[in-house]
């Protein structure tokens, strides 16, 4: 039984690993291009690329982080909050994501308090 399943598992791994690597590499291209155009102030175009990146690879914490920043820059606080939370969930030990999130929360909480009043 074991002798029969082992090749199957290996085969599955052989197929899955390059697929994952391909997905991450595609997503990374979108993330990097997004960074280059965000630096030129083209935030909505950058947003589209980071949205594409998380669509291709939903486990890509950096892409979620960048998306959070882009939404924040556009005043879309609910979307930014969700994106930052997703980034933290995927990479809880990343201090840079945590720092971005803390800075965002200062503004988000203030606007939320105001709306709730």
């Amino acid at each position: 039984m074991r002798a029969r399943t082992l090749p199957l598992v290996l085969l599955a791994l052989l197929v899955a690993v390059p697929l994952y690597a391909d997905r991450r590499s595609d997503a990374k291209e979108h993330v990097e291009f997004g960074i280059s155009i965000a630096n030129k102030g083209l935030w909505s175009e950058a947003t589209s690329h980071w949205e594409k990146a998380v669509e291709i690879d939903p486990t890509y914490a950096a892409a979620w982080n960048n998306l959070g920043i882009a939404y924040e820059q556009q005043g879309k606080f609910e979307e930014a909050n969700k994106s930052y939370n997703k980034a933290i969930q995927l990479d809880p030990n990343n201090q840079l994501i945590r720092q971005n999130y803390d800075l965002f929360r200062e503004i988000y909480d203030r606007t939320k308090r105001r709306r709730d009043r």
Binding site: I35, A38, N39, A61, N65, I69, E72, L103
Partner: protein
Amino acid sequence: MTVRSAVAIASLTLAVAASAACVSFYDIAIETPIQAKLDTTPFQRVLVLGFVSGGSRDVDVNSETVRLLRSQLRTKSNLKVIDSDVVSLIDVVDKLKANVGTSAAAAAAPDTRIDAKADSKKDDLKSEKDLEAYDSIFADVAFWKKLGEEYQNPLIVTGTVYFTDINKSGIVERPQEVYDALGKRTVVSVRQWMDRKGYAIAPKFVFIDGRTGTQLYTDSYREETLYQATQNTPALSSYFELMDRLVPGFLNTLSSQKIKSTRTLLK
């Protein structure tokens, strides 16, 4: 150039290139837009009338607040700021109370232009609680409506401002440089007793519709600043330091603001 230095330059260049290629994060400046809390489109003009003020006698809080907010609104909002005398709301309330039984609003409104410096009750105001006794003025629809008619239906800004000196002595943590036997410098946190004094400000801004006399919005703030007891800081400079922190929030009530900050993009 010796072989040695050529190798050193080449390896340095490689190291720089490698580190540049490995950079996985970028700091970027962002401007977060914050929507205005109030829709000011029905108004073309704003009247910062005056405040119920109390606390420290070192600063004429009513006049200074009116002056500061008017100048900020002139440069940072689209509303035309009405120039009028600063009104002492404490005197207005006292007049209204004295005229109970007659048509209060009608009796008080013509006398609102009272020199704020002649604010006779100011010395009696010791605490924020004392200011609350004057809150009834903000709900006096007839008074504000009459005032609104007088100034062609502006948005009216008023409220209370409490500014006082504070003493907060206690244990504080502060960084201290220490050098070991080898002269190596480190910074450690030291806990020590400190006598500190400073000032606190607690304004409540009330926004009133000059067309109807009704309250549109209120916003309260509280800020304080502390110095070492030996430091002599004038009350007026502390007042402006504290107001500097509050003014962006105040302006954001009337117009959208952008908060500048930095975030880190990741690869």
